[in-house]
Symmetry: C2
Subunit: 327 residues, 2 copies
DNA sequence: GGAAAGACCGCACACGTTTTCCGTCGTTGA
DNA sequence: TCAACGACGGAAAACGTGTGCGGTCTTTCC
């Protein structure tokens, strides 16, 4: 109850002004002489004054806090996004809090009530899949990242998955590969279907057999390798780094050399997979930090009263490594 | 500025009482008739009232928020710990916010100032390494998790690494293995040194050669396998799942079968490694959620005015899989 | 010299909740 | 019948900051 912290009145007393004046001096508002402003600033510095966020929130209505609401319990996607968000927001003195719903709608509702009750300034919603998701119903600025809102009136920032997949194929074609197979995850995953579609379109006649749908595991990568080898491909484009790593392992076991005999590409640029693979994987980086930065920027503008609408697609980046380039 | 939310006075008006009385009714304090309490509760339910956290914080001094301060940018350790912390705290209506310092002391200081300014009720400090760390200097309850504070007067909860490592050796000995090698991470990492020490002590004469220190990578696991095979071990105990996976890969390449010829154990039970390995790894689960739960419990007690002191070591759990058991 | 204008700062209230203190009413016991 | 007491609920202050409004003092112009 008794907080020993230094308060605005203490600063004001030291500077010989009233609390209201001190507040104006520190927030650069009102009309005060430069001399008074400096005097208050010095007093604040001397006392190590940090304004109490509780009083400020109550008074101004702003809490200088935004929430990152995620369904990605692993943190695989939400952590990089959060870094991007923080980069942008911390510059504006805003704090970021991470809320993991664990993909539980009830938990999500609980979090939302709590966030509204504590008066966060805005919310970034993200997930571990790219499927568009239902909008959240709160009287606050919201930006969707990675997974767009189904409502086009909302602001969403997503990854241009099709372009990313196309980039791997273009890369392979440029290396002179003419028989490209595609192994990816479940057909009902938007990211798998969208990437496969882009692969087929870009590869054209260089596509070798139909895309193989399975799951995102190394095991499936190994299994699918046996199937796909019947088509004698000279390149295998994979829907994820895990699949690609499985493919590389199986190819090595069978005596095929990567990339000389068969080039392999991954997707996601997940370091723990892409770098640990033998050889390291050429992969598509989702630029999740950029995604977070962009989402945060949009959110700031919405908070400032200039909301955006619609879906913004951000480019990916192809990272070339030895699985396509040779040593 | 104008928040449309329903306030305590609205609830009070509907129930025909004053705001103060409504507050008491909802928080089960003061002395009121049961009938009045119920009436206020019904009114609150009708209006969908959620108390504004800003006003509550300012008035009571409690924010019902605790922070998890971590240096683990990957989330590998902090996410499971956070789940445990949330489990305990959400039951008490407390919110948890994750703050990633990115191992930057300046950023840590900034976060601490911010956390004190917003008046969090307490802080759980954690990291990605098990090295004891300097205490943080804040006038708030603090509990250290995973990495203990160097000051024994603080409350810390850590993993009993030695017992975990010993458990793998006991397991191997029980399986009849008599020549056990140990491959682990950098000697200057406390977790590597501590586990190696426990391995040596527990294995006794069954220890085969000196522990091999390197880094935590699969690559090192593969390299070290070649070295260690000169000693003709019938089991290899590894300091991490990544190393163990590298060991398994190399053994398979060389025609040794796991676990028939040589049993292999990992450490950390990191699903993405332990399950993807061929064969899946017997490993030591750190029970990080338990760690988080325990830390949160201690923190709650400290907030309630009953602080604990000293280091609490929590047991690990050996997860047996095919790398030691056969199919 | 007086008045108007402008620069500057203090006063007081607002924000929403919690909590202490006190008043009122009804009941009980002498 | 009166006093004492307990049960109940209201009034108001407190938490710390932000800000609109008005007052004072100086300056300037007629």
């Amino acid at each position: 109850m008794n907080r020993p912290g230094v308060r605005m009145v203490d600063v004001a007393a030291l500077a010989g002004v009233s609390a209201g004046t001190a507040s104006k001096a520190l927030s650069n508002t009102g009309q005060l002489s430069q001399e008074t402003r400096d005097r208050v600033r010095r007093a604040a510095a001397t006392l190590g004054f940090t304004p109490d966020a509780r009083g400020r929130a109550l008074s101004s209505g702003r809490t200088y806090t935004v929430a990152l609401l995620t369904t990605d319990s692993s943190g695989r996607f939400s952590i990089p996004i959060m870094r991007g968000v923080e980069d942008v927001l911390s510059a504006g003195e805003l704090a970021t809090v991470l809320c993991d719903t664990r993909d539980d709608p009830l938990r999500e509702q609980t979090y939302l009530r709590s966030l509204v009750a504590r008066g966060v300034d805005g919310i970034v919603v993200t997930g571990r899949r790219t499927e568009p998701r239902a909008r959240i119903d709160v009287p606050l600025p919201v930006v969707y990242a990675l997974a767009a809102s189904t409502d086009p009136a909302d602001a969403s920032v997503i990854v241009d998955d099709a372009a990313g997949a196309a980039a791997t194929i273009t890369h392979l074609l440029r290396l002179g590969r003419t028989r490209i197979a595609h192994i990816t995850g479940p057909a009902h995953h938007r990211s798998a279907a969208e990437r496969a579609q882009a692969v087929a379109t870009t590869a054209g006649t260089a596509l070798c057999g139909e895309p193989l749908y399975g799951d995102w595991s190394e095991r499936w990568g190994r299994q699918a390798t046996d199937l796909v080898l019947r088509q004698h491909p000279d390149a295998i484009s994979c829907g994820s780094d895990q699949i690609a790593r499985g493919v590389c392992d199986r190819l090595r076991e069978l005596g095929h050399s990567v990339p000389e005999d068969i080039a392999v590409t991954g997707y996601d640029n997940w370091p723990v997979m892409a770098l640990a693979s033998r050889p390291p994987l050429t992969s598509v980086d989702l630029r999740l930090e950029d995604l977070g930065r962009r989402a945060a920027t949009l959110l700031l503008e919405a908070i400032a009263g200039k909301p955006h609408h619609g879906v913004l697609e951000l480019p990916t980046q192809l990272i070339t490594r030895e699985s396509t380039l040779g040593t």
